[in-house]
Amino acid sequence: MLFNSFSFAVFVPIVFGLYWFVFQKSLKAQNVLLLFASYFFYSCWDWRFLFLLMFSTALDYFSGLQIAKTVTDKYRKIWFYSSIGINLSFLGIFKYFDFFVLSFQNLLLKIGFSVDVFTLNIILPVGISFYTFHGLSYVIDVYKKRIPTEKNFVDYAVFVSYFPLLVAGPIERATHLLPQIKAKRNFNYDEAVLGLYQIIWGLFKKIVIADNCAHYANEIFNNPGHYSGSTLVMGALLFTFQIYGDFSGYSDIAIGVSRLFGIELLKNFAFPYFSRDIAEFWRRWHISLSSWFKDYLYIPLGGSKGGKWMQIRNTFIIFLVSGFWHGANWTFLIWGFLNAIYFLPLLLTNKNRVNLEIVAKNQCLPTWKESIQMGITFVLTVFAWIFFRANSLASAIQYIKGIFTKSLFSVPEVRPTFLIILIVGFVLVEWLGREGHFALDHFRKVGNRFFRWSFVMFLLVLLFVFGKEEQEFIYFQF
């Protein structure tokens, strides 16, 4: 059941109606409803993997209880490491087993040994990277005594499986989400309207921007040898907007849907393409994952406390792990490595925390300096996306070689005029709304109702016109 599908458009109002009009008096009943709705939502992908989700939930819930109950450090550690180990094993088997086996086979082949290897060829359970990280964060927080153990299984299961964030995040923290699940929720009209705005904007990003960019980007990335350098640049640019529209669109829909149920999810994107340096970009892109890695990997590794060398080492580790989290392919590792390289000059010059506020705050336009900084950051990001999107490392190299030819200065063969107009409009709306949580956050404050309604109607028409085919979200594969 995709967020951009008719079935989801039917599913949400039904759950919404039951939640606020049938079970509104009982928090317990509301949470049971959310759990059933989430399991139903997940089983629409593949009901067999629902058991894996349930097992993972039960494991972390039980581990949390045992860690809290056990007095001796030794047994606490045993429960803690067992839970972490089993969670990571599932992730390793489903996501990385074939990658490691085939990489090992290739390595042996290169040194002259030919071996037959055993691969699993199993389907990656959708959302496994996301719900595993939910569970890990809970177990780590309980072990570190940052949060109390959750004793109510239903509440804990809703935290792990809550349907808006189940398959592609944002990656929530127990400290943020669990208290909301346990608290009585009241319907807030303004929040619900804001949620609807966010859903519509997310759908626009996904259906109108991302899916249309994908149409051209896929063609260009799948056949890089057929196109001129300028067209390859066009392909990389279109993928840049595709990945942003796709993933931030998904996050907007997830956060918007959750607002309808009175639950606030973590912000996942904050206009990353307006960043002035790569450090700012990473504070604005997939925020819930970046902060997860910061809290559960970077800081435990020592963070920046051990001097410059340790800070650089830990930064490289974070980016490589982040790349590998995205998928079992060398292309993701190189993408992570490249971002770490981009980060390096900022670390060495202690300028990685300079641009903390959104660009041109309370201003209409950026300064020349800011424009140049944004331009450079954007170009670096586009270049890194080539590795992220390419089917293999060889294909990425072929793509980059193809760009740097004489044909770079020719007119691109692919010129989707209507799409470029849409992207320009999209960037303009994002720029105007960059000081809010999402582009239309302050939209309700625009005085003229006629303008607001006309704009939303225009978006709805675009959604219908462009929404003929349901396309999967890129991040479902991660």
Partner: protein, 296 residues
């Protein structure tokens, strides 16, 4: 209030939808839906029907009205859809020719699809919209909302006419030029892979035959000449799929088709080839139909 206003705004697209058929050069499906396809002989198939079977010659020789409903790049599923629409809105034909694409007819093939694009400009007809919804090409929103029936192509204006859009009076497009990529290589033996057939295409083929049988329409299956090869295994496979004994299967073609001068590309005849091939069909038909007619 907002929803009510949006409902009214959506109704403005009614006029756009009414004007969409003007964007389409190919009026054949519209004529079918309007009940204007009352012919005695109809030709169904892909581009191999559209370009290889000269319906005007059949009409003149047999003194029976004929029309070519071959659609480039269409599969048997689309041809079945057309047949159902013809029978629903028009007088039933006496004879149907159905060309079968060697190799590709029952396989997952990029070049042979259900031609959704031929339906998009006809969404003013509720049955066309319903068909697109049933086939999951449109979301169920299209049932009630006009704007959900429109795609961006419908706003981009009329496409330019190509050399493939020159229909004769009886609906054939003759190719009086040769493709640049005519492959002159010959492959004496090509194996046919039954295992990779799609069950839904086989089912559509059988249903097509079944409808003709129930409606008492004479069905002639044609495998037009292919310059590169002749696939005997495929012919045997089609024979095995014929469910009605009265169905005729023409798969043997004149030896003259070994020459490249009759071909546009390896699997399509040019004008000269189409005339020659159609004359062969007419000769066979005359021996079968006219004695029967004279008996009556």
């Amino acid at each position: 209030m907002f929803l009510l206003l949006f409902f009214l705004v959506d109704k403005l697209f009614f006029w756009k939808i009414q004007s969409l058929p003007e964007l389409e050069f190919d009026k054949r499906l519209e004529w079918i839906l309007e009940g204007k396809m009352n012919k005695e002989i109809l030709i169904f198939g892909s581009s191999r029907a559209q370009h290889n079977v000269y319906s005007d010659a059949i009409q003149d020789s047999l003194k029976m009205t004929a029309f070519n409903l071959g659609y480039r790049g269409s599969n048997i599923d689309f041809q079945l859809f057309l047949l159902k629409k013809v029978l629903k809105h028009n007088k039933k034909p006496k004879i149907i020719f159905l060309t079968i694409d060697e190799e590709a007819a029952f396989h997952a093939e990029k070049t042979l699809q259900f031609r959704y694009d031929k339906l998009y400009n006809l969404v003013k007809y509720q049955e066309i919209t319903n068909e697109l919804i049933v086939r999951n090409d449109f979301s169920p929103f299209a049932f009630g909302w006009y704007c959900a029936r429109l795609g961006k192509e419908q706003f981009l204006g009329r496409k330019e006419k190509t050399k493939y859009d020159n229909w004769t009076a009886a609906g054939t497009v003759l190719l009086d030029f040769t493709a640049a990529d005519l492959n002159k290589k010959k492959y004496p033996l090509v194996h046919y892979n039954i295992k990779s057939e799609l069950p839904e295409l086989i089912a559509a083929f059988k249903e097509f035959q079944h409808i003709c049988q129930v409606e008492n329409i004479k069905l002639y299956l044609l495998v037009p000449p292919n310059f590169a090869y002749k696939n005997k295994e495929f012919v045997d496979r089609v024979k095995g799929l014929i469910v009605n004994e009265l169905t005729k299967f023409y798969y043997e073609n004149s030896n003259e088709f070994v020459e490249s001068k009759y071909f546009y590309d390896e699997s399509h005849l040019n004008k000269k080839g189409a005339i020659l091939y159609t004359n062969e069909i007419i000769k066979r038909l005359k021996t079968e139909i006219q004695p029967n007619n004279s008996n009556h």
